[in-house]
Symmetry: D3
Subunit: 128 residues, 6 copies
């Protein structure tokens, strides 16, 4: 709303463009029809504050998100989004698969299996 | 039991030594008194198979585990173990903090807060 | 089975009628074909005991259920049921959206996003 | 409150006596000071309805509860209660350990480890 | 950092003062020693953005948070914080107990029991 | 890879044949295309080590898995797999339903409802 809100918003939009511009736009467009304030929070906080933080590069961050969402097992659409994002920012298929397989020890085999099924969908879509 | 079991067991012990020899020994000793087979699975499967996998280095793996356990929020002793392990294999405090903070978006602020409190305990113990 | 069972059952049916008569009937009919005792527990305990409790009105209760199910993220069909129920007992769209958005802090953005997507489906169905 | 409520309550008390009379009384006494209605629901619904159901014997039921609570990882006091209950109704230590270890595949190693630590505490207390 | 960041920060501090000034300060002080950026996010996003939102009053918000955290069962320190906050903004003990008991249907009896134990601690501390 | 790996792999294949040969093959085939090492771990660890353990028979194990997965609520495809497996190793419909219903107390009604819906699908497919 204010100028600085715009600064965070701007930084969020840039980060979104690095990750998956179209995918992000689709999410934000849907959110604007039902919860416009929350659409702003996704851009400003999730992307503008957290994903834009220093210390870790975007590739590591996306691997961490894939690991976290795989372990939780409650966020199928977001896991798929970040599997694609991980690929967009340069994670190899092998790195992504290893990150998911690692979660089998900590969150169980079903969590890892469902993560791998989602990864397969994302990888297969790339092939086309 | 057989030779190859020993091969996986041996590989697991070596990985444990890289991560936190004493901490691992303590866990395995306790497990042997109640579930000796499971003590073997921890060494052979968790450390010998999964943590010894190729593709990702140990530093990245420990960051991923910290992210996953922070997101789950149900594994306080294991999170503390892997926070210490992450430090032992070369993760900086800043990297660990960023990995935990990142989970605030995906698993909520309480998950991140409890992860940070655990990290603080581990970091404070180092100082001494 | 006995008279008092019937008293609790009766109270449950009345509460169900306030919340979503048709939706409840559909659930109970399916349950009767596979777990008839559990069909009774849904009517008697969930609706006859808990949802009929004093102190909180039905509108507040449905908002609390929406918040709880959004935070859990493991109960998509039940969340959709209670989003509709919340509307039936007088919650505004804005109140429901705020209750879901609030969970973004406590259970993460994916939990809130999936809650909002479900709410959008329920609100869109109303429009017709 | 009514006679039949008393019938379910009576059945619940009898089931509690089979499982762990003292442990149950302690829980119910605490609940009465803060949520007396819920104290009744524990006796009537959890013990009088569900745990008194036909088809499965109490030993199998307690093993199932131990498995479920181990997998969830969010109910430490209740897991400990049911580990003791499982012993009281005739589960061997070996059966309990196997039920917990089995969850390592489905809910991850931390869930199984925390279950085993709790079991060790319960078994050690028996020895005295 | 910028002025508007300060505006959100200021709004967050005011909301914190309504909820539990001392409790919030303690959390923020600890966070500043380990993750100063995240300390800002707690003030700005959790309190300045979300808890300061329109539509729902603070009393309803705190009840919803209590319900959500009870259902999740992974955030004991935060649940206790918000039980106290709920009291501070005017929720009666009876309303809080009902909100927790309601979760027994949706998240299970252990979740509700642990919520009630936490509430008892908070209520008992008030008495002194 | 080595001979003993083959021994565990062999034991896993035999256990899979007891449980659901075709269903297992389908899972393993998919995994081989994306994570061949993990396909081995499923056969060797999940089936060869854990499910082949002594003390508990396969019928009890499958009931425990159904209970655990129902309680977790994050593993729909795996729950369906093990509902079919439970039937294949001799669990009656009534035993399965009771195991699921029991989880209503510990993991909530939505967990039990979704478990029962999955069971209904599996039972209905049998009828044909």
């Amino acid at each position: 709303m204010s100028n600085d809100g715009n600064e965070r918003y701007q930084r969020g939009l840039e980060k979104m463009a690095e990750v998956d511009r179209e995918g992000c736009q689709r999410v934000v467009e849907v959110l604007k029809t039902i919860a416009p304030e929350f659409a702003n929070y996704v851009v400003e906080f999730a992307f503008g504050d957290i994903l834009s933080g220093p210390v870790l590069n975007l590739k590591t961050r996306e691997l961490l998100i894939v690991a976290g969402l795989t372990a939780m097992g409650t966020a199928a659409p977001q896991l798929k989004f970040h599997l694609k994002a991980a690929r967009n920012v340069g994670c190899t298929r092998e790195e992504i698969v290893e990150a998911i397989v690692q979660m089998s020890v900590y969150a169980g085999f079903p969590a890892a299996l469902n993560g791998l099924y989602a990864a397969k969908e994302v990888f297969d879509a790339e092939a086309n």
